[in-house]
Amino acid sequence: MTDVVQTQSLTKSYGAVQALGGLDLIIPRGGVYGVLGPNGAGKSTLFRILLGLIRPSSGTATLLGGSALDRPTLRRTGSMIETPRFPPYLTARQVLHWLDRAHGGGRAADIPGWLERVGLSDAADRRVRGFSVGMMQRLGVAAALLHRPEVVILDEPTSGMDPPGIQDMRALIRRLADEDGVTVILASHQLAEVQRVCDRVAILNKGRLVREGAVSELTSLGERLRLLVDRPEAALGVLGAKGAGEDGAVLAAIGRDEAPALIRALVENGVGVIEARWVGTDLESIFFSETQAETTHAAD
């Protein structure tokens, strides 16, 4: 089986509010998969359905080929939904011992190892009531990974973390996918972060899938050749409608196969080419174009 998540026509309504509106989504096994969307897009609702916390209004959702209510399936899954909270009188170590007992299965988890991996070794015996949001997030990630799941669902894992913490978390997530073979499903509002760490992304808006694909493919879709030339006006003249100026440079909206001919034409027209490089669009641009287009259509 190559897919870890499959949803078909998945809907969830809270009274008149529709959180998911017929979502069809397939998340393949392996790598880091980002689920993006503005607030209210349905990301957390999707995760809660996958984890059996809520039931869908209609449609189906499978996780590792099983139902969300199937206990053996869920025990192969780790999760952290929003900022985690814990019984305040327990220490970080005790929280993991408590969850280890709840998980059962007879195999004791490597609790000191996970505390070390999330950077909480020094605070292992401190009560969680004094933890910062970032420390809670780290403990939540350790709790999610405690039993070496095949899939881990992390909802905003870097929320409330300082920059070094975010960097550590990014490295941990990549290591989980690359070295431990865990499929990481990640929701985050930090789009630059997602672009760095994810292999594929799905963009949700108003409970529907509006874009899905490999990050490298999505960001190359709006790819343009950025030219630094000695005579920008002349270069724009050669490019015509395909050219646009940007901060003294010229952006050429052409295909890669057209590049040699363009550079030849520029040189023949007396334009000196100082630098030429391909620039893609970033995930943030795609995110806003997709989610705002939906909003505009809805307004129309």
Binding site: R75, W98, A102
Partner: protein, 287 residues
């Protein structure tokens, strides 16, 4: 299959919640021992005055039958203080996963049936610990009383004393569990710690007042309606014959015993079943 993992996890967590353990297990016995000791010392200090006033105080003289004292203690183990303080522990056990939003950590790890069953299992153990603490406090009070008033100790209790004592302990245990299961139902339906704490107390007060409310309406205290609606009455009916033997003995007819057992069984199963049903379909999008 018993929910062993859920019981181990809940037990582990409860044992580390020292404040709750103190209030639900230790506070009432400590108070009982302290207040009784103070009372005994005050009485001894004023023994001469009391004798001059010709007030007869059997507790200050003669032999002290420890077994009889233990039976008396066992008959009061399911009283209002025990129920009240057990509810502190039960409400924490049942409602705090809503308060701390920790259901989301547990529901992917075990079935909802097992999670609630595990909590019920730990609550039953907690009720047993409350009872054991009460018994130990009762024994301590008797020993202190014997020491303060220089009364010789005996260990008799009369006919079938140990059986009666064990019967009273078993009934007290069931009564406390029944009381705490109302807390479970309140916790699941309202997701509120306050409700889990207060609803069983309010229900308990209403049930205690019910027989006296129904009598003027022509419903006798031992009627089916009264007994089924008031598990406290059922508990009293079943425990009274075990407390005293001989001339003060209370007999229990088979039909009355059946009513009482049915009432206890009803209140031991229905709240738990309703809570399980509600929790199995509960939306945990926001605990």
């Amino acid at each position: 299959m018993p929910p062993i993992d859920a019981i181990r996890a809940e037990g582990y967590r409860l044992l580390r919640n020292r404040a709750v353990l103190f209030w639900s297990v230790l506070f009432a016995p400590i108070c009982a021992v302290a207040f009784n000791t103070i009372g005994f010392l005050v009485m001894r200090a004023n023994a001469a005055k009391l004798q001059a006033s010709e007030i007869d105080l059997p507790m200050m003289r003669g032999e002290l039958d420890l077994m009889e004292a233990m039976i008396r203690t066992a008959s009061s183990l399911a009283g209002a203080p025990e129920a009240l303080f057990l509810t502190v522990g039960a409400a924490t056990l049942f409602a705090c996963d809503y308060r701390w939003e920790t259901w989301r950590l547990l529901t992917p790890r075990d079935s909802r049936f097992n999670l609630i069953s595990g909590k019920i299992g730990v609550m039953k153990l907690l009720a047993l610990v409350v009872i054991i603490a009460g018994i130990l406090a009762g024994v301590a009070v008797s020993l202190i009383q014997a020491g303060v008033f220089s009364r010789p100790l005996t260990f008799d209790g009369g006919e079938d004393a140990v059986v009666r004592w064990l019967g009273l302990i078993g009934l007290a245990w069931l009564r406390l569990i029944q009381f705490a299961l109302v807390s479970l139902l309140a916790a699941v339906l309202t997701r509120s710690l306050m409700a889990a704490l207060l609803v069983p107390l309010v229900v308990g007060v209403v049930q205690a007042a019910l027989p006296s409310v129904l009598v003027p309406m022509g419903v006798p205290p031992d009627s089916w309606l009264t007994v089924l609606l008031s598990p406290g009455t059922a508990y009293q009916m079943l425990s009274s014959p075990l407390v005293a033997t001989g001339p003060g003995a209370v007999s229990l007819e088979a039909a009355t015993a059946l009513k009482a057992w049915l009432s206890l069984a009803l209140w031991l199963t229905v709240p738990a079943a309703l809570a399980l049903l509600a929790f199995s379909r509960q939306d945990l999008s926001k605990e």
